[in-house]
């Protein structure tokens, strides 16, 4: 087959996508960036309208408009979509960073004044909502939270990972059903988990308000998170790895325990940590299952135990200045705990030799 050209070959100009942007692109981009900002600045300094309102009412629509128009001038119709996409993306980014920043900064700024040495190690006996911050603390609540989360983990992690293995590795007849059940369970509201444990264990006098009841309620919330994340992680284990293990003659149990789980180790750790992060700040189920205490209680089977979320709830409800400071302090500790958990996962799952 021959290619016929209607022009001599050396008269066709290649498009050269790697060539430098022409001047009009640069000018257009500059207009799209500078114009809305300048308008925002002028309005901000000349009128009385508060800044955030200007950003939402003036800056954002104007930015959309200029970006659309300039990219239309530059690239034609195709450019409009691209420019609106990038404006939308950056705006969403800005909004989320602003919200997260507000939460984190206010917790740090308002929680730091409560951070005294005693705050981390003392418990809450003889402390009233108006007691000075140099007395009392969240020591008992810290231990209580650790206890409850530990109980929840030893129940939920094996069950969750087993559910994931059943779905991805065993692929039994009920795999779809189990998957569906796990999915349905992930929708169980935290308060319902608390109500269930309350009705099943506390109303029937098996145990009273106690850490074990709280741990069971937490486990219900943790299981689906662990199972779903673990399932996704196990799915990422290449089929070739499984096939190779089978071809070498290993049994099903061995393939799963020695090949699949170690391959997905970092992902499974992430699953566990996500599960812990999901539950560690849940207040509602604990209000109904562990109740609250002022003393340190390490017996999981008897007597109410205090936890950090419930401590925050308790002091936020009482409304005095110092008690609200205590609540912020406890929130800061909770946030620190979550951060440490996260740093831990990052450290554990740092990439060694391109793990999955």
């Amino acid at each position: 087959m021959t290619i016929t050209l209607d022009k001599p070959i050396n008269s066709i100009k290649p498009p050269k996508p790697w060539a430098k942007r022409n001047k009009s692109t640069v000018v257009n981009n500059a207009i799209a960036v500078i114009l809305p900002t300048v308008v925002l600045g002028i309005l901000f300094f000349t009128t009385e309208i508060p800044g955030p309102v200007l950003v939402v009412v003036v800056f954002f629509p104007l930015q959309l408009l200029t970006a659309g128009v300039t990219s239309f001038m530059d690239k034609g119709k195709r450019g409009i979509g691209d420019s609106l996409l990038s404006v939308g993306c950056v705006s969403a980014f800005g909004l989320v960073v602003a919200l997260l920043g507000s939460v984190v900064l206010s917790v740090i700024a308002r929680g730091l004044p409560a951070m005294k040495f005693n705050f981390l190690f003392q418990n809450n006996i003889y402390i009233s909502p108006t007691t000075e911050l140099t007395y009392g603390g969240i020591g008992h609540a810290l231990l209580g939270t650790l206890l409850v989360v530990f109980i929840a983990s030893i129940i939920a992690v094996p069950l969750g990972i087993a559910s994931a293995i059943y779905i991805t590795d065993i692929k039994g007849r009920a795999a779809g059903f189990v998957r569906f059940m796990v999915q349905a369970m992930s929708g169980v509201p935290s308060i319902v988990a608390g109500l269930f444990i309350f009705a099943a264990i506390i109303l029937t006098d098996v145990v009273g308000f106690s850490a074990i009841a709280g741990g069971l309620a937490y486990a219900i919330l943790m299981l689906p998170t662990v199972a779903r994340t673990a399932e996704e992680v196990l799915r990422l284990v290449p089929k070739e790895v499984r096939d190779a293990a089978v071809a070498l003659g290993s049994s099903r149990a061995r393939v799963t325990m020695r090949i699949v789980l170690p391959t997905a180790k970092t992902g499974l750790i992430t699953a566990v940590v996500l599960g812990v992060a999901r539950i560690i700040g849940e207040t509602a189920p604990l209000l109904l299952t562990t109740s609250n205490a002022n003393n340190t209680n390490l017996n999981p089977f008897r007597d109410p135990v205090s936890t950090i979320p419930v401590y925050i709830f308790q002091y936020l409800g009482s409304g005095y200045q110092t008690s609200i400071q205590r609540a912020w302090g406890a929130a800061l500790v909770l946030l620190l705990a979550v951060t440490i958990l996260f740093a831990l996962t990052r450290y554990l799952s740092r990439n060694k030799k391109g793990n999955v």
Binding site: S163, I165, A184, P189, I191, A200
Partner: protein, 376 residues
């Protein structure tokens, strides 16, 4: 007997050593009667070298994976214990239904259908009336406001992380989203109550001032704190990371060839995203949204602090300080509840539970359908 003892016993080690040495020889194994006998006994649990495969009864024991039944004992034990553990979610769900149902049944029967449709809750004067319609409706109103805010933000954010942002920025953003997801609802509630409510109330006032002619933004209470609008924002903060994480994951799995092909055909980036990435990721995004909805319906403590619970249904005035949420109502009423009231609260929890179950059912259905369409 003497003869046997004298001649055969010394021969025994000789015979065994000869036969065993012959058995080691694959030629002998395949051709002699002794060899075949040996193979049929020994090879039941062993794989053999391929050279002996053509002999009948001499194939390696197949291992069944997938839906086939496993054959060995250890496999049976393993999969049995895994199945038992995997069914725990079924057991728990059934137990929740049974316990909440059996405890609240008397109250539900006594209150009748108006438990759901009525709007009064009172234990005074010896008459106990438990009706949850305003709370039920309010739960959905809050969730819908939250979703309306969260869906566009999260989808754009996921697109930003996957397609637009420079690599370093998208790494940072991933961490930021993870942190946001990990912030406990108690802290969000604290922040919402002491920090966010003031700001949001001002915005509510502005909305009412300039857009008050829209019925949605009407306000007849001259007070803007503790409204469903604020509750919706607080919910949105909790939903955004959920939807973003799921969308980001499915978007990142868009086949690069398809994207390249779309770009190579002259499509813009937004065109490629619209025609390739979003359709590919639709099921996952819907799944994420449904996950977020489930979270929003059941959120308790954060809503408890930022919303005024009123037993009078507020249909659309999202800036009015009147709202409802079943979960928060349960916490609010639980402390000083009479025994009968506790059973009514268990009933409310049952309804919340069934609702979220149905949401998940719908989520499953939608995700599956979109996947089927993708295959077709």
């Amino acid at each position: 007997m003497d003869l046997v003892a004298k001649f055969l016993l010394p021969l025994f080690p000789l015979v065994t050593s000869v036969t065993s040495s012959l058995i080691v020889n694959p030629e002998f194994r395949r051709t002699s009667v002794v060899g075949l006998l040996y193979l049929s006994v020994m090879n039941q649990h062993k794989t053999v070298s391929t050279s002996t495969l053509d002999v009948p009864g001499n194939t390696p024991t197949p291992r069944y994976f997938g839906r086939e039944k496993s054959r060995t004992k250890s496999d049976k034990l393993f999969s049995g214990s895994i199945i038992v553990a995997a069914l725990s979610s079924l057991v728990i769900l059934t137990a929740i239904l049974l316990y909440l149902g059996s405890n609240s049944w008397p109250v539900l029967v006594e209150q009748g259908f108006s438990f759901i449709t009525g709007s009064e809750w009172s234990t005074t004067d010896g008459v106990e009336i438990f009706q949850i319609w305003p709370m039920l409706y309010g739960t959905f109103l809050n969730a819908i406001i939250g979703l309306v805010i969260a869906i566009p933000v999260s989808v754009f954010l996921a697109l930003f992380i996957v397609f637009l942002a420079p690599k370093n920025l998208s790494k940072v953003l991933t961490v930021v989203i993870d942190i946001l997801a990990a912030i406990p609802s108690g802290i969000i509630g604290l922040w919402g109550f002491l920090v966010f409510t003031d700001t949001a109330a001002k915005w509510g006032q502005l909305l009412n001032q300039y857009l008050g002619w829209i019925p949605l933004f009407a306000n007849d209470q001259e007070q803007f704190a503790r409204s469903p609008f604020i509750a919706g924002w607080v919910l949105a903060i909790m939903i955004i990371p959920i939807i973003t994480v799921v969308s980001r994951e499915v978007l990142a799995q868009t086949p690069q060839e398809l994207l390249d092909a779309a770009r190579g055909l002259g499509g813009s980036l937004s065109g490629a995203i619209k025609m390739v990435a979003l359709p590919h990721a639709r099921g996952g995004i819907v799944g994420g949204v449904m996950l977020g909805l489930g979270r929003a319906l059941g959120e308790t403590i954060a809503i408890f602090f930022v919303l005024n619970l009123i037993f009078d249904v507020n249909i659309y005035k999202i800036l009015n300080p009147e709202g409802g949420a079943i979960a928060s109502m349960i916490v609010a009423k639980f402390g000083e509840a009479t025994p009968n009231e506790i059973n009514a609260l268990l009933g409310a929890g049952l309804i919340l539970f069934i609702m979220t179950l149905f949401v998940n059912l719908a989520a499953n259905y939608i995700v599956k359908r979109s996947q089927r369409e993708k295959l077709a």
